[in-house]
């Protein structure tokens, strides 16, 4: 290479530069997922608040009937998945910022584990309501 030709001595691959991601190849996914789930949660949680006006103080039979309707089950499931995915992403950032050293990795895995289990429990509860609702109707 001719030393007189000006060139940039940056430690970064051309592909990484073109993609704007750096070498890791996954810098923006977390950020995007957080925004997309946030935007999804706007209509979903509005729907939930409206439902709570219809359902506040209701007894078991009413709640089962409500949860058994396909549209409600759909909205609920979407709300649960979006909520716990968004929570996972958000809590992960908090852990990254405040938990240092050896505790960091286990805490991160724990956050992912617990939020996943909660989401799964919510989905199963909805499935069970759908089944129970269809038995009654």
């Amino acid at each position: 290479m001719n030393a007189s030709v000006p060139h940039i001595e940056v430690m970064r691959s051309q592909l990484g530069r073109a993609r704007g991601l750096g070498a890791g190849g996954s810098g923006t996914e977390h950020w995007w997922a957080e925004r997309v789930t946030a935007a999804s949660l706007l209509p979903l949680s509005t729907w939930f608040v409206v439902q709570m006006f219809r359902l506040g103080g209701a007894d078991h039979a009413d709640v089962v009937k409500w949860g058994g309707k396909p549209v409600n089950a759909t909205m609920l499931t979407a709300l649960i998945i979006a909520t716990f995915y968004h929570a996972q992403l958000g809590l992960q950032v908090i852990v990254d910022d405040y938990v240092h050293g050896k505790a960091h990795l286990p805490t991160r895995i724990l956050v992912k584990f617990v939020t996943s289990l909660l989401g799964l429990l919510g989905v199963f509860a909805v499935v069970k309501l759908v089944v129970a609702g269809s038995r009654r109707s």
Binding site: F53, G56, L91, A125
Partner: protein
């Protein structure tokens, strides 16, 4: 380099030379600003909202499990301490939503100047307080009314 953590602050300039990256001053150095409080509150309310969502899932699971489990859940949602918790959850969700909308606006490149930030902060607080209060009063009122009607009809579970 006396502090090992300083190793994390070593970066490279675009010409390849090693440099010491600038370090933010410590939190205590800053003058109090409303936006500081609002920013950390957005995180705190996010954590509280997650806790509330967990309670919501338990409520759903109780409804799915059967009338007996749901009756227990109703005891929690029906009593004053439980309702205080629910109102706290509601306010957190409202605050986090308002804060989240502000973040989305900032991400689109708007309202991110110093004056705009300082002007919008109190508005966000006001909107949160207003919406939370209206929803809390409305929801608790509706719930209490329905629960009383059910109790009267003698079919409260």
């Amino acid at each position: 380099m006396q502090d090992i953590r300083k190793a994390l602050y070593v970066g490279t300039r675009s010409d390849g030379r090693l440099i010491q990256r600038p370090m933010s001053p410590h939190l205590q150095i800053y003058r109090y600003r409303l936006s500081m409080v609002l920013s950390i509150s957005n995180r705190l309310t996010g954590v509280v909202a997650t806790g509330g969502a967990a309670l919501g899932v338990f409520w759903l699971a109780a409804a799915a499990k059967g009338p007996k489990a749901f009756a227990t859940a109703r005891k929690v949602t029906g009593n004053p301490a439980g309702q205080l918790l629910l109102v706290g959850w509601l306010a957190s969700v409202v605050y986090h939503t308002v804060g989240g909308i502000r973040h989305l606006i900032w991400d689109s490149g708007k309202r991110y100047d110093k004056e705009e930030l300082n002007k919008d902060g109190p508005v966000a607080v006001g909107v949160t307080a207003g919406v939370s209060a209206v929803l809390a009063v409305g929801l608790l009122g509706v719930a209490a009314k329905r629960a009383r009607a059910l109790a009267k009809a003698g079919k409260a579970s």
